[in-house]
Symmetry: C3
Subunit: 177 residues, 3 copies
Amino acid sequence: MNSVTLITGGARSGKSRYALALAQQYPAPRAFIATAEPLDDDMRRRIERHRQERAGDFVTLESPLDPAERLAAFPTDTRVAVLDCLTVWLGNLLHHDPNVDGLRPQISRFLEMLDAPPCDLIVVTNEVGAGIVPHNDLARRFRDEAGTLNQQVAARADRLILMVSGYPLMVKEEVPR
Amino acid sequence: MNSVTLITGGARSGKSRYALALAQQYPAPRAFIATAEPLDDDMRRRIERHRQERAGDFVTLESPLDPAERLAAFPTDTRVAVLDCLTVWLGNLLHHDPNVDGLRPQISRFLEMLDAPPCDLIVVTNEVGAGIVPHNDLARRFRDEAGTLNQQVAARADRLILMVSGYPLMVKEEVPR
Amino acid sequence: MNSVTLITGGARSGKSRYALALAQQYPAPRAFIATAEPLDDDMRRRIERHRQERAGDFVTLESPLDPAERLAAFPTDTRVAVLDCLTVWLGNLLHHDPNVDGLRPQISRFLEMLDAPPCDLIVVTNEVGAGIVPHNDLARRFRDEAGTLNQQVAARADRLILMVSGYPLMVKEEVPR
């Protein structure tokens, strides 16, 4: 049975670097599923730079809207995939369909996939709910949806890790049977 | 001696659900002290829906301004009460009296009550200080007051729990004597 | 070899008080390096009040722009210094030079100093990245820089502590050799 690890934390808390370090402990081939959408040139350059930094170690797959589908199509010899990250994926979904209810099927498919992932999964997400309640209605909805999604993924994860200034705090760890 | 448990965390981190689960381990009667004020129809409906979800398991008491007084009037056979939540209560106080100093007596009464609570108490609060400093003066004051109140309650609590994506991290635990 | 302790957490989570309590365990002389700049009368009064609260226990040194230089000039009998705090220092640097690259030399000097501090150091910082992504471009840059700086200091620290409502969670602890 393949495992799911969820890595959460604030911005620039070292989540992605830790996720990559965990994945490096696996033999190749390793996959990196990037949810960031290259909406402008600056973003395109950043995505490309990050891809090159991982090159050799990871096969990068872009999937801004349906990472579950991406994972379903994986070659069977892939041992580990990093999915970076849940909140950017959720932001993309809300950008393409501000009606939250329209997102439910895609989110459900993702959660179902977590019950039997095609390889070990290391999922990165963001803590966005520990500041002042935002005035902006969409920001508030995003914050609520992100917190709910984080809980749903954590409930299905074998390990839940909170990153603090680059270091991991283990919050949940299922003992392997 | 009755115990006090403080549960903190960001928005949608599973604080209320965990508080209810802890309280369910007690025999009835159990109380739920809701600090939310039904200011509009949408809020009224949400409060009513939550009340119905708890029905049978909890007696719900609304107390947007003075939960200490509410607790003092408890029937003596109540074994546990969930107070949900401190930051909404503080927001109500600031809404009714933006002059912070006017809040001190109510807050002092609440803190004194924690030294000898009428039953075991499970208090829910929010982390609101881990984002960027807000521009808005009132938001900044609320953030400072909430952090200070959280510290004051935590200092009087037997257990302090930080929720992360639905899972508890024990921060403080007094060994029962 | 002198040690470095990094204390992080949200606003009003008890970071400074805990830093002072740790430093009080050392014999005098103890130093307090304040990075706050007295930009207006209100701030001047707050800084002065805090200075008087510490008086007798700590020698207060103000250093809003170059705490590394301040530390280098320390009398050799100082056993411990509290630096409060990193994010205010970073804010000062960005205020005086909004071009982030202009800050690199000062930050590099500070990080180098951490490899061989002149006395035991207790550094306070803030978590600013666990709320919603700020709209404001400068706020977003500050948030990224603060997270990166926190990681860089944590990597050089012997202990990393996360404060939650006044209580410490140990995130990293190097066993002394």
